[in-house]
Amino acid sequence: MKARTVLIIGFLALLAASCIPSLFPLYTEKDLVTDDRLTGTWDAGDDGIWIIERLDFKPNTNPLNPDWTSPAEQKSYRLKVMEQHEGDTLSAEFVMHMLVLGGRYYLNYFPSEYTLDHEFLSWFMIEANNFSRVTVSQDSLVLNFFNPSYLRTLIDQNRIRIAHIRHDNGILITAPTRDLQKFMVKYGNEKDFLLSPDILKRI
């Protein structure tokens, strides 16, 4: 097997392993913050290119436009992720929020614009939230996703009680935001729960 093939398989395995989808977001409106350093174009290496824009809504009196009074919507980012697959560029967009929880910074991602090749399959796919720890600087974005194996172990050993269901590809957390936050405050700094960081470089 060629080294390139091994690397690709390893990469896919890492992605599959770095996924703890949740029906509910990790944030409530009061947890949200913004950081101008998030915006820009980022090189995620094998994970492609990330483009982050602030959705800078301003209240106005035009009846055709909304009054952006909700902090959750005033503090939203649009994330566009472009990946290369067999010579094609695939793009998907996400609503992204930054939040502070227990003194630590997180990003919450939720898909907003995408297409699937198979239309009937798209009926069956539920959009879920995902989140990572984040450390942002002027030139780099350091993301730590979470290890679902660790979560599975905690659940199997009855060390935590968090609402979830198991599906073919892993665990879907169904706990409401309040429970999710308690869980992340308690376990969000456990070294076995944090996967190796993905370091994105500003382009």
Binding site: L12, L15, S18, C19, P21, L23, F24, D47, G48, L55, N65, P66, W68, T69, S70, E73, S76, R78, V81, E83, H85, L90, S91, A92, E93, F94, V95, Y109, F110, P111, S112, E113, Y114, L116, D117, H118, E119, F120, L121, S122, W123, F124, M125, I126, E127, A128, N129, N130, I165, H167, D168, N169, L172, T174
Partner: protein
């Protein structure tokens, strides 16, 4: 303001889907049935069709891992080919609740190429009331607008969550069955039925080389 409004103003579009997804299946194993009339190829032509065949674990050799959990003997394998050429397999189960037949679909062995997107999409069940004849398979999918009306007018108490622009049922199977049977004969419950016509033998045979591949 709701997410959909945000997305609208961003100039984005959501996938508009009228069916109701559910985290849990509509069936328990004890509810399942076999009906030989389900097997066959349904659809207009070679480019767009549904192929349904019973999955018999005793006779399946080299069955992919994703299918190994479906060993009850009551599973049908549905392969949906779309005009674009895209193909996808689903586990399909037939059940009866009171007098009515239903089918439950769940995607198996799917591949979402965009890896980061794939982390954010979770498969759900979709079910439909079914009529089966020698020539047709008629599917009545439950209407999202109907469900929304029931929820907003407080006429039901079923577990659900609002995800994006649609509702997802989170009720477990027993609660789902009670809910479905309560409204099964209400004319407003369903969207326009999909009528799938069984292909005749000659047309089906032209699909044969593809179907052999799909069975591997």
């Amino acid at each position: 303001m709701k997410l959909r409004t945000v997305l609208f103003i961003m100039g984005l579009t959501l996938i508009v889907i009228s069916c109701i997804p559910s985290l849990y299946p509509l069936y328990r194993i004890s509810d399942l049935l076999i009906d030989d009339r389900l097997e066959g190829v349904f659809g207009a032509d070679d480019n767009e069709y549904w192929k349904i065949r019973r999955l018999d674990p005793e006779f399946e050799k080299n069955i992919p891992d994703a299918w190994k959990q479906y060993d009850s003997g009551y599973t049908y394998k549905l392969t949906v080919r779309e005009k674009s050429g895209a193909m996808q397999d689903f586990a399909m189960h037939l059940l009866r609740l009171r007098k009515d037949l239903y089918v439950d679909f769940f995607p198996v062995d799917y591949n979402i190429k965009h890896e980061f997107l794939a982390m954010h999409l979770v498969p759900a069940h979709i079910f439909a009331k079914a009529e089966i004849t020698d020539k047709y398979l008629v599917l009545h999918y439950f209407d999202m607008d109907w469900l929304e009306d029931l929820i907003k007018t407080n006429r039901i108490k079923i577990s659900y969550v609002e995800v994006g622009d649609r509702y997802v049922l989170t009720a477990q199977t027993e609660e789902l069955q009670k809910f479905i049977t309560k409204f099964a004969n209400d004319s407003t419950t369903f969207i326009e039925p999909d009528t799938l016509r069984r292909q005749n033998v000659e047309t089906a045979l032209t699909n044969f080389p593809i179907l052999i591949n799909a069975c591997k």
